[in-house]
């Protein structure tokens, strides 16, 4: 009960937001409503007009052609007006629906650029994508189309009633009396079928999960000869699905025939009442014909409306999910006094003082971390999984803000700099090799779109990517498909390195930058990295020894703290945690 109330309150807020997003198109909305009213009005005129027309045909030799002509003309004109109004209405609705969803998607993507990584890391990509794509679709279809359908549906019902009352009150009462029957049956069917639909979708979900798991692991399934048992499990679910689906589909398919049945009862009722009235001289044959025309379509809007209501609810839920995303708190914007830091002013000095940070309030991660990096120093960070290596990088790049203490770059607290300026100072190669859909060239030039061809090729050569790029069918213009799916993990990593080689930032962050490259190629890239790192402050996370040993300072992290700090030789001499890690070849310890 309580949650229901809360939901209603949210819905109210959602409705207001929806109205606000429609506001720029309110003229279209008004126009659409006017056209809807117009088209309903002219549409409802036609049964009356054709009734009048039939009334002009009293019998052989008694047809009043003089009166018939204008009526026929009026039918044609009404039909024309209805058609034009309908077309105009759909144009308005389409414009509104598509433009509002465009606006919402644009707002969402802008929002995504400003959301803190804390939010983005904490929400599955698939979920956010579906809010921006699928939810917006359902919203625009359901809400805007639904809204106008609802409006014209209600108008049609009211108009029909008015016209029927105008022609003949008692017969109209017959119709009004039978109507609730239709609503009741529709409600009953919807109730029944929803129960089975829920069960169907639940079993379907179960089956999809099994399918996903087994098809993805098909090679394992086959190599362990599990084809039979897996098929048995599948068939068991399949059998249940069949049972539920049969009922869901059957019950929901009853809507049409039962509506038609109720309709034909209304029809028979009108025919009876009308015919009896006509016998008594109360209504003309034409009037009866108009009545029957109305009775034929009278229940249709009722069904549409009940459909629209569920669609509207659906649309509001989807809109709510999107608004939730749009309402998320953004990164604290750069203050008005935030400073720019031109690359030539980056000295390369980095100082962390008393830094503390935690992802979750009750789980301390980094506590009281102090570190002073002199310009041009190379800092290697090592330690077991979850010790905070990647977190440190998140803090340096200001993907996350520290909870306590401060980080300074070139002597300035990074919170006094614009984020762009800070991030521009670093070049970053991560273990996660993200590439953009586009060409190889665009990807290498991602950080410097204005780079010349020679610069791009030179960077690729330094990253030892040139030779494989040349072998691709279209060389530097070869397309990179989604997630770089057409490239091997190692090739993707080489491209990420080339990207940084071209960017030439004042400072470097290499987070497992060569983890997917075999050791021989890595050895070759080392030289290039060496050149790149010369004179640049660099932070290196790696679990391969060769990458770390030459560092000026090795930070050994454990549980968010720096437990040891020094050069390789000094740390080995200490025979502490580092020496232990080293002696186990470092291997595996970094994963």
């Amino acid at each position: 009960m309580k949650s229901g109330k809360a939901r209603q309150k949210i819905s109210g807020a959602v409705v207001r937001r929806v109205l606000r997003s429609i506001r720029p198109y309110r003229l279209l909305l008004i126009l659409s409503l006017v056209l809807a009213a117009l088209s309903v009005g002219t549409q409802l005129l036609i049964p009356i007009l054709s009734g009048w027309a039939i009334d002009q045909m009293l019998g052989a030799g008694a047809v009043n052609f003089a009166a018939l002509w204008p009526i026929l003309l009026a039918i044609a004109i009404s039909a024309g007006v209805t058609a034009l109004a309908q077309w105009g209405m759909s144009e308005c609705n389409n414009r509104m629906a598509f433009c509002v969803s465009r606006d919402l998607r644009n707002a969402a993507i802008g929002k995504i650029q400003r959301l803190p990584l804390k939010y983005l890391d904490g929400h599955p990509t698939g979920d956010l994508v579906s809010r921006v794509i699928a939810d917006v679709d359902v919203f625009s279809d359901g809400l805007l189309m639904g809204f106008t359908q609802l409006f014209s549906g209600v108008l049609t019902i009211l108009g029909t009633l008015a016209f029927m009352l105008y022609i003949d009150v008692p017969i109209a009462l017959v119709v009004i009396f039978i109507t609730p029957l239709s609503i009741l049956t529709a409600g009953f069917i919807a109730y029944k079928s929803e129960k089975y639909f829920r069960r169907q979708s639940q079993i379907r979900g179960e089956q999809t999960a099994l399918i996903n798991e087994m098809i993805e692991g098909q090679k394992v399934v086959q190599s362990f000869r599990q084809e039979g048992p897996v098929l048995e499990r599948f068939d068991e679910i399949n059998g249940r699905l069949r049972h539920a689906s049969l009922r869901a589909v059957f019950y929901s398919s009853l809507t049409n025939p039962t509506t038609r049945f109720v309709n034909s009862m209304v029809y028979a009722g009108v025919a009876l009442a009308g015919a009896l009235s006509a016998v008594g001289g109360g209504i003309s044959i034409g009037g009866l014909s108009s009545f029957l025309g109305y009775a034929n379509q009278y229940t249709k809007p009722f069904n549409e409306i009940s459909g629209v209501v569920t669609e509207l609810q659906n649309a509001l839920t989807c809109a709510g999910r999107l608004f939730e995303l749009l309402d998320e708190e953004e990164e604290v914007p750069d203050g008005p006094q935030a400073l720019d830091l031109p690359p030539d002013q980056v000295t390369g000095a980095v100082e962390l003082s008393q830094v503390s940070f935690r992802y979750e309030a009750d789980r301390p991660l980094i506590e009281d971390l102090n570190l002073r990096v002199r310009p041009g120093q190379h800092i290697a960070i090592v330690g077991p999984t979850g010790c905070g290596k990647t977190t440190l990088i998140n803090l340096l790049m200001r993907f996350y803000d520290v909870d306590g203490g401060s980080i300074a770059v070139s002597g300035r607290d990074i919170r006094t700099l614009t984020r762009h300026a800070l991030r521009r100072s670093y070049g970053m190669v991560l273990q996660d090799t993200w590439l953009k859909t586009g060409t190889i060239r665009e990807n290498i030039a991602y950080g410097r779109p204005e780079a010349t061809e020679e610069e791009i090729v030179a960077a690729a050569k330094r990253a030892h990517a040139h030779s494989f790029i040349k072998r691709l069918p279209q060389g530097y213009d070869s397309p990179v498909s989604e997630d770089g799916g057409n490239l091997s993990q190692g090739q993707k990593q080489l491209l990420c390195i080339a990207r940084v080689m071209l960017y030439l930032p004042p400072m470097l962050i290499l987070d497992e930058a060569t983890s997917s490259i075999d050791t021989r190629t890595e050895l070759k890239i080392q030289d290039a990295f060496g050149q790149l790192m010369a004179g640049r402050t660099s932070f290196i996370v790696a679990h391969r020894l060769s990458t770390i040993r030459e560092a000026d300072v090795i930070l050994v992290m454990r549980d968010g703290r720096i437990v040891e700090q020094g050069t390789h030789d000094a740390l080995m001499a200490q025979k502490g945690f580092y020496a232990k890690l080293y002696n186990s070849q470092f291997e595996g310890a970094g994963d």
């Binding site: 018939l68 209805t82 650029q113 090679k219 689906s245 030459e550 310890a589």
Partner: protein, 580 residues
Amino acid sequence: MNKKTRHKLLRYLKGYGRQSVLAPLFKLLEALFDLLVPLVVAEIINVGIAQNNVPFILQRCALLVGLGVVGLACAITAQWFAAQAAIGCATAMRHALFQHIQVLDFSQMDALGTSTLITRLTSDINQVQNGLNMFLRLFMRSPFIVFGSVILAFSIDRRAAMAFAVAVPVLSLIVFGIMRLTSPMYRRTQNQLDGVLRLTRENLTGVRVIRAFGREEQEEEQFRRENQALTRMQLRVGRLSALMNPLTYVVVNLATVAVLYAGAQQVEGGVLLSGDVYALVNYMSQILVELVKMANTIVLTSKALACAGRVQAVLDLEPQMAFPREEVAPEGEEAIAFDHVGLTYAGAGGESLRDITFTVRRGETFGIIGGTGSGKTSVVNLIPRFYDATAGHVRLFGRDAADYPKDQIRREVAVVMQRPQLFSGTIRSNLLWGNAGADDAALWQALETAQAAEFVRKKPLGLDEPVEQGGRNLSGGQRQRLTIARALVGRPRVLILDDSASALDFATDAALRRALRALRGELTVVIVSQRTSSLQHADQILVLEDGQQAGLGTHEELLASCPVYREIYESQFRKGGESA
């Protein structure tokens, strides 16, 4: 879709023959009753009202109610049969497809990819179900009502019905023409939407890189551009398809005007009564509704047929590998022998393996090393016959690999794959995949060897600890050790570890190798690794580079003779602090 697909589809309807005939038949009956209604009303007007015949009116109105009741009964029967046939067919198809996927070759699975198989098993078959259901219900009804209305109109009066002869073709032209024009536009719009979806995903997955390079604005701008293009396309196709209702409406009403006019003339001439004119007008309005339904049915059916075609395409894939049925006895001292083996994957440009020759004796440990993409996995995939060599011969225990039945070769050779894949259930249920009959003692023994016993023991529920889908609730190293244990439970003659100790730390890796050595004599082990440290105690090591054999021998021999091996070794064990 072609006839063949349609024919094959019928196979799944087998067993539902009765339902698939009865469903449309009952629909037809219902339609027939629908068509009679205007005639009855015309009689009420022409006879009942004109002659003030109240009993006649009562009788005919009772008939109307009767027609409605019988129509409803027919319709419900039809829906029931249609649902039974459609769902039965979909269930059978789903079963057939899932079963068929189980026997596909690895190369066929590679070619198809998992995501499309999943789509075909789920949404494609659902589409078939919907399409078939709709088809059974409407393919008879709609044309029957359209043509029935025309015929009945003509039977009432030929002259007044002429408008029908014109209106029906014009309406069909509008309905089908617009559908034809818009369907490729809808497809293009869908593609554009996929593009917008891709951009959204990219902006999320690449958020760190985008922000690191400060490219937020450019990304947003590109999104806006693509989004605007999408909106334009949506508007264009929306404008066109919005023409359908108004145009058909105008045509129907002009035809009604024509019917009224012609009807009036016939009434004037004494050929028709006003009730007949009413019936004619009524038939005209029925036609439009059914035409639109018919068009929708055609769209849905053709979509369903396309989906059925996609399902059928997988079912038509015949496994390329033949396996004999008779089990054979393994013999000889040679566990694995490769004789000038080459492998070219289906559809690949070049050879993945060329001229590989080596022999592994029973009980030996054999190492395979090489860079990324050097063909290590390709070599081991030939041993349990996941793929067939395209050149040379692979022999297993003295016999050609192709002489073993599928079940036997997969039992004799257990592969622990690079990606440690577990399935939802419990630790026990995963281990039992190796051998369904294994008892707890056997499971624990396998866990001990795989260095997994300790962490399993620490789990609150031990062997019954739940495993989530894909083993998400376990660490990478734990997953790897469980997959090794799973392979050991089956007591294979050959165990292949395809880089499957990569997430283990040095000590655990060493302990694992020690434990495996203890099983020596019964077990031949093939270890694939990128680390020389994991292989240096192997009896033989095969060094691969670009799919070719770059060396074969013991660690010491290779260090002395194989430059590639030496380079790999040195890249991992380089001492001192030179260069960087």
